[in-house]
Amino acid sequence: MAQPVVQTIHRDPALFWWILLPITVVMILTGILRHYAMTLLQSAPKKQSLPQIRQQRSLVRGFNLRQNANVLTPTSFQARKAYMVSSYQEGKFLADPESRGKPRPNPMSDPAAMEGMMGMMKGNMAMMIPQTLIMGWINAFFSGFVIMKLPFPLTPQFKSMLQSGVGTRDLDVRWVSSLSWYFLTLFGLQPVYNFILGSNNAANQMAQQMGQVNPGAGLMGPEQDPDKLFLSEAENLEVLQHQWILEGVEDRLLAKLAV
């Protein structure tokens, strides 16, 4: 019958106004700030020379042909394939045909590659700096307060992290200090950003990680040899099994209409 004694702490209601609310508001505003900072930091794509654009676009063209081959009639697909493969293999679309077969220069010396790395760095910085700043701010101003009770129990391992600055040995782990409210908001505010900033904002971490793997960058990275890319694309086109989508469409239509 002996119920374990439930620890209760009577807290000043002002703790809500002076700790909980400020942290929440600051977290939301930081997310919005990060979104706009990322938008501003995004450098406009550099203008490329005509042969380079042609090199890039012709590779994309081969890729598109491979993707949408099924809507073409066999004859027109064969004609396109023959043209693309032969020009790929001859290197017609290369930006500088003289350097074909030579080893690529060191990517670190290429200014375009450096720019890409800088962009990635900026993204990471915009993520890291506010987090460190806010952690420091919370530790400096709000440490030592027990502000709330978690509705679910935790193992004692969390005690040192969640009750940092509270020097009470026997206090239940469920009573936590302001730093844990910071962690909760850090992970739980994603939908709030989604509603405020629209779905593809730069405020949340997931988009951050996805943004670093830019799909366009892998296609024609500066460190890849365009000649090799063309040759492999030609090979892909060669082995593609072409199936015209309108083949047997009459039978399918009749089968669909038949009751």
Binding site: I147, M148, P151, L189, P191, N194, F195
Partner: protein, 109 residues
């Protein structure tokens, strides 16, 4: 080969799939926060709280199934099981815990 052919005849448009996922994710996030408010106000603790969340998401799934997908989930979702019933359940959990803790702290403790 047969399945590939089916896909080519009636293709899956990536934009529509993304839009549907977005709609489901918005509904889930909003309802997860509201469930957190409810659980905190009711003063649920530990397991009952999480069970409350699971039951709530199940009801939301049923509602999405009945209202938004009009009972035909295969027309709106590529994989109905994963995208409608199981999708986004755990991404809503963090916002549920946030509002749950907040309202529990405000109302009860």
């Amino acid at each position: 080969m047969n399945e590939e052919r089916e896909l080519a005849i009636s293709p899956i448009v990536q934009t529509s799939v993304q839009h549907n996922t977005q709609v489901v994710s918005n509904i889930r996030n909003l309802t997860a926060s509201l469930f957190g408010v409810a659980a905190g106000t009711l003063g649920l603790e530990s397991y009952p709280g999480f069970i409350f969340y699971l039951v709530g998401t199940l009801i939301v799934s049923l509602l999405v199934f009945a209202v938004r997908a009009e009972g035909k989930p295969s027309e709106y979702f590529h994989r109905p099981l994963g995208d409608l019933w199981g999708g986004e359940v755990f991404s809503g959990l963090s916002s549920f815990v946030l509002t749950w803790t907040l309202f529990y702290g405000l109302v009860r403790a």
